[in-house]
């Protein structure tokens, strides 16, 4: 109770979302500003093969130098402060031209620019080679069509490529949430035990209540305070984010994975009948039994948090001051990290593999790994382990 009224707690509760949103907005803003910079690239083209391939775009403009030696061009580009110099020598053979072309820059070249240039060369080279083989571009394009096999479950439900990744991301998000919560609020429990020891109130308290009651009360109290704080964070961060994006005119989709928990996992590649597919995805996501998932999330959350915060409390009881806790904290965080990494690298690929099963059976990793497995597993009507595992894992 004292913790909630504590000024620093209140301040952090309201400041954190602002900081969080502020940081994201700043990153987005800076990225935008960074990209707005216009690059000027000088092209010294001595070959006929690339006569008008370099057209200025929104971000990059090309200037052609003519009748000037390479050395002179380098000097002038450097003194004019342009981004780079593309030198294309005069050779009879296109392959040779490409092989001897150089892109000079002051320091390491921007990868985007480099990609552009390379694309241009590749296109031209491919054209040339196709010509030599006597294949028309149209024919080649028709050959290049990709193929994806249709998949379905035995029950006949159509599976969607990538949906598993989305499901995994959802599970991963939940798992990650548990880990964050345990690390932050487990630390709270630990510090509160240490505080009671150093302020020496512990003997007064312990003569009124049983130690078990004290510990349970502390853990439950801290977690409720934590959940409140978390809820405030999520809600206010969401609101602030929308407001901030509106003000700064940033397109949220332009921000790369850092934007949301677990959104780093790939979203399915676009398909021709995009609209229909999107519908299917929506259906599939809708089909994830959210109620069940959230129920399990709460169960694993509570059980996982209880285990870990008890360990944190034990550490608090074992040491005399906070500086001594560091060495003990590492072994606790280790299984959490392990669970997350194992989850991302192994469990997503194979929710029923031996690693996934093993880690779900180990109590310290179970809450996180199980949540990562759940969304994928629950969709199916028959799941080999899901039926009983939740009862035994913790």
């Amino acid at each position: 109770m004292a913790k909630v009224r504590n000024k620093s707690f209140v301040i952090m509760t309201f400041l954190s979302p602002i900081l969080m949103v502020g940081m994201i907005v700043l990153i987005a803003f800076l990225t935008k500003v960074n990209d707005n910079e216009r690059r000027v690239i000088v092209v010294l083209n001595e070959s006929d093969y690339f006569s008008n391939d370099f057209n200025s775009t929104e971000r990059t403009s090309y200037i052609n130098f003519e009748d000037i030696s390479l050395e002179a061009a380098k000097d002038s580009v450097a003194s004019l402060g342009y981004s780079g110099l593309l030198y294309i020598p005069d050779e009879k053979d296109l392959e040779k031209v490409a092989g001897r072309s150089f892109f000079y820059t002051k320091d390491a070249p921007n990868t985007g620019v480099l990609d552009n240039l390379e694309d241009t060369f590749r296109d031209r080279l491919r054209q040339r080679r196709l010509q030599e083989l006597g294949v028309s571009e149209k024919e080649f394009a028709s050959m290049d069509k990709s193929f994806e096999i249709n998949t379905a479950t035995f029950e006949g439900e159509q599976n969607l490529k990538g949906i598993n990744e989305i499901k995994a991301a959802i599970g991963g998000g939940f798992g990650y949430l548990i880990m964050m919560f345990i690390i932050i609020y487990g630390g709270f429990v630990m510090r509160s035990v240490i505080e009671e020891k150093t302020s020496r109130i512990i003997e007064v308290i312990i003569s009124s209540v049983k130690p078990f009651q004290l510990m349970l009360g502390k853990i439950i109290g801290t977690s409720l305070a934590g959940i409140t704080q978390f809820a405030i964070w999520i809600v206010s961060a969401g609101v602030l984010m929308i407001v901030a994006f509106a003000i700064f005119d940033i397109d949220p989709s332009g921000i790369s994975p850092s934007g949301g928990v677990g959104s780093g996992i790939g979203v399915a590649p676009p398909m021709p009948d995009a609209n229909q597919t999107l519908n299917l995805y929506a259906q599939e996501i809708f089909k994830i039994p959210w109620l069940m998932l959230i129920t399990f999330f709460i169960i694993y959350f509570i059980l996982g948090y209880l285990i870990y915060s008890s360990i944190y409390a034990a550490i608090g009881a074992a040491v005399d001051n906070e500086t001594d806790t560091q060495q003990f904290i590492f072994p606790i965080i280790l299984p959490l990290m392990l669970a997350i990494y194992v989850g991302f690298f192994s469990v997503f690929n194979n929710p029923h593999g031996p690693i996934a099963v093993g880690f779900s059976l180990f109590p310290l990793t179970s809450p996180i790994v199980m949540l990562m497995r759940l969304p994928g597993v629950l969709v199916k009507t028959v799941y080999p382990f899901g039926n009983w595992r939740p009862l035994f894992c913790c």
Binding site: M1, A2, N6, E195, E196, S199, R200, I201, E203, V204, I205, I206, S207, S208, V209, K210
Partner: protein, 311 residues
């Protein structure tokens, strides 16, 4: 039942170390019971067992005639030696919280706190944080919190540490008042002068064992050695002194000739003083005849030094 608390052969070991060895005590109702002993004698361990913070390896504790139960905690108030409060919590909130832990309702706790705060004239501390208070001030709060739920048994472990003499007196008076209201009090300390002033009964623990217990006055009686301080107005004191020392053991004698005052300490074989007094008053005017009673401190030191001599 005349005893509020009885311990019956309580033994507690920590690994190879025996903290309490077969300690049996009877603490009478409505009395102040001094639990004495040098450092490490086992006082705090015994108190912790009474408070059910730890449990004895063998032996039983009876509270109010029945074996100690978890619920008895609400009838015991304990002021530990290792005491403290949440530093960043406000005084009032903290006192309310601790009172509620002891089973008081919020309203009742508030009422009683107001009473005590007014009594100690500290009403304006309610919204202060403990870290803003001096040590003595915090101790006062701690005392209030200990007695607030009006337990049947109060246990004070070194209650006066951290108090200046004035505040120590205030606390002492409060302890006596609580006793008058019918509370039984266990009082653990090394400060012998407070034992003398407060305790009716004492128990002396030494090296994990009880070596002495009983009513303080009885113990004192048992420990006095029939030594008397005598003052006598007499001519030729030296001659009298010589006569006396033939029969009795005389020590630290002084004779002031011009005042004719003879002072000496007399050791009698038994506590029959009539013959001696008759003899002395036949010689001169007796102006002092005082039996020397050993102080609690002397008893403490003497008993600890030759442990087990008294039974």
């Amino acid at each position: 039942m005349n005893n509020i608390l009885v311990t019956n052969g309580v033994t507690k070991r920590f690994g190879n170390y025996t903290a309490l060895n077969n300690v049996s005590l009877e603490i009478p109702r409505n009395s102040i019971y001094g639990l004495l002993g040098p450092n490490g004698a086992g006082k705090t361990t015994l108190i912790r067992i009474i408070n059910q913070i730890t449990f004895p390896d063998s032996g039983t504790v009876f509270f109010d005639g029945e074996p100690l139960r978890p619920n008895d905690i609400s009838n015991i108030g304990y002021l530990p030696e290792e005491r403290g409060l949440y530093k960043s919590m406000k005084v009032g909130e903290q006192a309310l919280y601790l009172a509620q832990l002891k089973g008081l309702s919020k309203i009742e706790a508030k009422k009683r706190l107001k009473f005590w705060f007014d009594r100690f004239e500290i009403g304006d501390w309610w919204n202060k944080k403990i870290q803003e208070l001096s040590k003595g001030m915090a101790q006062k709060i701690q005392f209030i919190v200990t007695v607030l739920h009006e337990p049947k048994l109060l246990i004070f472990d070194e209650p006066f540490s951290g108090f200046d003499p004035i505040n120590a007196n205030i606390i002492k008076d409060e302890i006596l008042k609580l006793k008058d209201q019918g509370t039984s009090i266990i009082f653990s300390t090394h400060r012998m002068e407070s034992v003398e002033e407060l305790c009716e009964y004492i128990a002396l623990l030494h090296q994990s064992e009880k070596i002495l217990d009983g009513k303080l006055s009885d113990i004192k009686k048992a420990y006095k050695n029939n030594i008397f301080k005598v003052g006598l107005e007499v001519e030729q004191g030296e001659i009298l002194l010589k006569e006396l020392s033939d029969t009795f053991e005389i020590s630290s004698s002084t004779y002031t000739a011009n005042e004719r005052q003879l002072d000496f300490t007399l050791q009698l074989p038994n506590n029959d003083t009539r013959n001696v007094l008759q003899y002395l008053s036949s010689k001169g005017n007796v102006n002092q005849f005082l039996e020397t009673v050993p102080s609690a401190n002397e008893i403490f030191i003497r008993t600890v030094k030759n442990k087990g001599t008294y039974e």
